[in-house]
Amino acid sequence: SQQGEEDPQALSIQEGENATMNCSYKTSINNLQWYRQNSGRGLVHLILIRSNEREKHSGRLRVTLDTSKKSSSLLITASRAADTASYFCATVPTGNQFYFGTGTSLTVIP
């Protein structure tokens, strides 16, 4: 399977804490992307990191990529209740295929 795999499957934290979730994958990639999904809704793109990048920031989000270990991490700092959602990584090997992982369900407790 070319799908990535997120870890942990579920994460529960207090508001204000940081949340870290990881993604491991098996194939070489052109880029890796992180998406968010609120319950029962479509996915929304958060951030894209290319294979030649090691770290990227966007607001309270920080993404790292280690292509030698085929892994990525998403850090959400100073979490808010509104960050409660499922988070997915998507690996993009080449061409037009996007392969999504199984997701991390994040619950931020007010």
């Binding site: 880029n31 037009n96 999504f100 997701g103």
Partner: protein
Amino acid sequence: SQTIHQWPATLVQPVGSPLSLECTVEGTSNPNLYWYRQAAGRGLQLLFYSVGIGQISSEVPQNLSASRPQDRQFILSSKKLLLSDSGFYLCAWNEVSGYTGELFFGEGSRLTVL
């Protein structure tokens, strides 16, 4: 601005009945189009993608099919639904460009096969 519409939002169908889910994109030309399925509490499974009218690539052999009769229209179909076809179906698009950018998703169609 670009928008993506997906319908119906909810569908309950008996086993053996046909299926048609429709997706349209507005505000862009010649997009790449995708159908994903998400089983309850699971990740997304890529079903089909299309880079142009009449060009469909299938990722998973099954009793589903896809068609792209117009540039911005993508249809997912089945002649006879199975119980295992239940799930949340998501249509998505992205720009055809020199690199693979982000996907834009519709709001999904929840299918329950009884």
